[in-house]
């Protein structure tokens, strides 16, 4: 079974705090993507990571792909209420297989 686990499942913090959410699997990914999803809407792509150890920054968001390409993290600095949402990771395994395997997501609430 291909599993991709995200933690924590829920996170409620105050504006200005830092946070990290995690995405873990026992399998190796050829690439991994982070999305943000609002209720009733489609996932909006934030970033794609491909290389083990890769770090990408998107304003206050820092994404890291594990050296072994089995895990990833998303760190948000000085969280804002506008960061509230569901953060999903989705990975693709090596080979011609193009389907994405999804985590259940981390639901983030940033309180003013």
């Amino acid at each position: 079974t291909q599993l991709l686990e995200q933690s924590p499942q829920f996170l409620s913090i105050q504006e200005g705090e830092n946070l990290t959410v995690y995405c873990n699997s026992s399998s190796v990914f050829s690439s991994l993507q982070w999305y943000r999803q609002e209720p009733g809407e489609g996932p909006v792509l934030l970033v794609t990571v491909v290389t083990g150890g890769e770090v990408k920054k998107l304003k206050r968001l820092t994404f890291q792909f594990g050296d072994a390409r089995k895990d990833s993290s998303l760190h948000i600095t000085a969280a804002q209420p506008g960061d509230t949402g569901l953060y999903l990771c989705a990975g693709r395994y090596a080979g011609n297989n193009r389907k994405l395997i999804w985590g259940l997501g981390t639901s983030l609430a940033v309180n003013p």
Binding site: S30, S31, Q33, Y35, G40, E41, G42, P43, V44, L45, T48, V50, L88, A90, R92, N96, N97, R98, K99, L100, I101, W102, G103, L104
Partner: protein, 115 residues
């Protein structure tokens, strides 16, 4: 910025009826996908489509489902004889070829309610 568009945004249908969900992928993309998300559950892969044929499908994608690219722009998902458990958000997605194909772009979704 180019985006994947889907219609309808919401459809209510009676059990047993046929439904067609429509998608316009990003114009220069070559791979197309359908995913679904039942309320409160993970996004699940249904099918991928390339070069006018299905390249991969999940166990969910049985004979009840079919996909078609009837012209150069649309990509459709047909669900025959809908069941209550088909109620979900259905997402269309597309990706370009090559290494850029690591990135998959999603539409806003079509919310299907079977009653």
């Amino acid at each position: 910025e180019p985006e994947v568009t889907q219609t309808p945004s919401h459809q209510v249908t009676q059990m047993g009826q046929e439904v067609i969900l429509r998608c316009v992928p990003i114009s220069n993309h070559l791979y197309f996908y359908w995913y679904r998300q039942i309320l409160g559950q993970k996004v699940e892969f249904l099918v991928s489509f390339y070069n006018n044929e299905i390249s991969e499908k999940s166990e969910i994608f049985d004979d009840q489902f079919s996909v078609e690219r009837p012209d150069g722009s649309n990509f459709t998902l047909k669900i025959r004889s809908t069941k209550l458990e088909d109620s979900a958000m259905y997402f269309c997605a597309s990706s370009p070829q090559g290494t850029s194909g690591n990135t998959i772009y999603f539409g806003e979704g079509s919310w299907l309610t079977v009653v």
